[in-house]
Symmetry: C2
Subunit: 433 residues, 2 copies
């Protein structure tokens, strides 16, 4: 079969990695794909620098639209990120009847429904394995490997930067600020780490996983997002003593009232698979009614791991480049005409167990008053733990049974009016998985 | 699209599970597949019992050939196991131009090359996700998710029975015999557990994973196989103290001289992902040159988990039932005309680190003599550990650096001629992964 021609938008970390993998493993890939996958054009900002990597035989341009409109190109690989230029190029590529491979979670999380609708109309593929959890083939597992299942929930460590920071905070007892500085020094966090540490990047990815799990449109705008910036070293230490590890999880779960879609720091049992994911690694746990719990673990970012996912998508595209829609896997695992409109639940209605830490004055009656408020708001206490008092103050920690988030917030408001409560209540969610 | 018609051979644990999943999740599956998947005929030993499960509307026969020759059937799902009747039916189904889905690792490990060659000629699919690691979509991950990579090695816990027994031996300090009895009582081991405990089942699966990784024919007959029957509780305890956990691993690795293909008890670092796979669960670690290490974890057996894999295969088949070969994923990940003839290495040439335990008389010069033999056979000692002597005897434990298996065996032969060595040397392999 004749080679498939690729147009590469962006030759940064992932673009450069894609180029390298396609070249280094060209024979191995062709042995699998049954045809060669050749980069025919690249769009970059710096032509001279690009030439050093790709040489003189590849058409290099500074205008992505050149690549998109190039009639020789079968597949456009978008690795520039963002949702302005990238979006124009992706939409134009689709309009031109070209297939698209992208690692752009921000684009798909915010404009995915529009992108997939256009692609469906033009009978082209849009593949995005690299957009979630880097080299781990989690999109493929969910779109194709677990098709027998009613997926019940997905919980994932899908941001390496925050997992690195949390691993450092735990193992070294560092504060968030110090661990972030370490992460930046070692290249695990960007100069502006906002998207990572505030949970936005994880929420982008989670929105896609939620659609794949439940066959609903991508709804990043409905996600509840909390980052790790306010997490205190002492809560990580308390959690550890209680047998838990704090991880930034993306969780999406089907409930009777709708779908949970939430990113937040979470206490998970220290012996669980997710608790043992260290450093910048990623892992996604998917629970299906037939298969039970499955876990997918690997590098969630980086040049070659992400390129591994991009190139796997290219092999899929190469195989079905001239096939029709019926022969292809639907973009979001479910046929476009079979998507559901199950609502995303308001965070107040989500049920979870909670970790609450209260700094209180050490005097009689404190526990009684707090316990009364929890009882009155229907919150059942699973266990309790009190630190020895220092300077007449002490920390009380409660682990609650499952409760409605709205009820917990209500209880916290009441507790904070008590005159012996010395600082805002720390509230973290607990998941047994 | 019109429904795809399935003929089910066998309605035991996995067959029954497949029936249940196809029915319980029929709508969810159709939302994904774009068409319904309907069981049109089943072959069973006990028609009356089958009727209780599938009702009166499905054609039930006691002769598998009836199903295979039924012109209404698009796909034959073989879930009877073994390689006599099952083989006849699978080969006949292929000859009839029907697609095949099977969970039969014994059949594919011993006759896979013949089956795939016939299927290639007849332009039909043979899907076998359920044959390895139950519900974990490991075949899909390796055939499609990691196509960008030169796979370097695969190491897996791919037999739940032995992992359950080893977990019990470790956590309860049980002997192999007692742990096996527990496993049988709890339904994790069969009445005749030979295939599991001798490592044959794991080797069947490993042979398939090796072909998927390296694009070589299935070569179960060349696998080196050691089970767990001679494993002593004290070695598990010693390993634990040294920071290792003993697991039955299937390992296949590309080396310059060829491919390693081996199943044996292995010491792995206790903090590694594989060490923490408990009970009857399975996990497979795949290392690719681009992606690095990835892990796939889940239930490796059982009614519904295995059915999850069977039905996922059916959805794949449903999608490409009328496509041609170019649009489909090759049986063993690599195109049939691009298979390699890389040799499987003799076990003597395999390099590994080793755990050696020697029961010796407690007298001066013992260590010097042993250390001399190891040095003379080019074996470098990583660490050493000696138990306090009891009744003038003691255990010495060596962890060696990587050495050639042949050299280790040679050293052991020499050591066993020393008059102060009181019992056969225990030798286990150590992998850092």
């Amino acid at each position: 079969m004749k080679p498939i021609k690729v147009g590469l938008l962006g030759l940064g970390v992932v673009g450069g990695g894609t180029w390298k993998v396609l070249n280094q493993n060209a024979d191995e890939i062709a042995r699998r794909a049954g045809r060669r996958i050749e980069v025919a054009a690249v769009a970059v900002r710096d032509v001279a620098k690009a030439k050093e990597l790709v040489g003189d035989h590849i058409h290099i341009t500074t205008d992505g639209m050149d690549v998109v409109l190039n009639p020789d190109i079968d597949v456009v690989v978008e690795l520039v990120g963002g949702d302005t230029l990238a979006k124009d190029w992706v939409m134009k590529a689709i309009e031109q009847g070209k297939h698209v491979v992208t690692a752009n979670k921000a684009l798909l999380a915010t404009h995915g429904n529009e992108v997939f609708a256009a692609a469906q109309k033009q009978n082209v593929m849009v593949a995005f394995e690299a957009a979630v959890a880097g080299g781990i083939p989690i999109i493929k597992a969910m779109r194709e490997g677990l098709t027998a299942n009613r997926i019940q929930w997905v919980a994932g460590i899908i941001n390496g930067t925050t997992n690195f920071i949390l691993s450092e905070m735990r193992s070294q007892g560092l504060s968030f600020a110090d661990a972030l500085a370490d992460a930046q020094r070692l290249g695990y966090a960007e100069a502006d780490p906002t998207f990572d540490i505030e949970g936005v990047d994880a929420a982008h990815k989670l929105s896609l996983l939620s659609s794949l799990a439940f066959g609903v449109p991508v709804q990043f705008d409905k996600a509840h997002i909390e980052g790790i910036t306010t997490l205190a070293a002492e809560d990580i230490a308390h959690a550890e003593r209680l047998g838990y590890t704090v991880k930034l999880l993306g969780i999406t779960r089907a409930r009777e009232q709708g779908i949970e879609l939430r990113v937040h720091p979470t206490l998970v049992p220290s012996e669980s698979m997710l608790a043992n994911v260290q450093g910048a690694m990623n892992a996604v746990m998917v629970h299906g009614d037939a298969v039970g719990s499955t876990v997918y673990y690997g590098a969630g970012a980086g040049e070659l791991p992400t390129a591994s996912a991009v190139v796997a998508d290219l092999v899929d595209v190469a195989r079905l480049v001239d096939a029709d829609h019926d022969h292809r896997v639907p973009y979001l695992a479910f046929q476009q005409n079979a998507m559901a409109d199950t609502p995303i639940m308001a965070m107040d209605d989500v049920q979870s167990a909670y970790y609450l830490r209260l700094r209180v004055e050490d005097r009689p009656g404190v526990l009684a008053d707090i316990a009364r408020i929890l009882a009155d708001t229907s919150i059942s206490i699973g266990s309790m733990f009190q630190e020895p008092a220092v300077n007449d103050e002490t920390d009380i920690i409660f682990l609650t049974h499952e409760a409605r988030e709205g009820d917990i917030l209500n209880a916290i408001l009441k507790i904070q009016t008590l005159d012996f409560v010395r600082s805002p209540v720390t509230r973290l969610r607990v998941e047994t998985l």
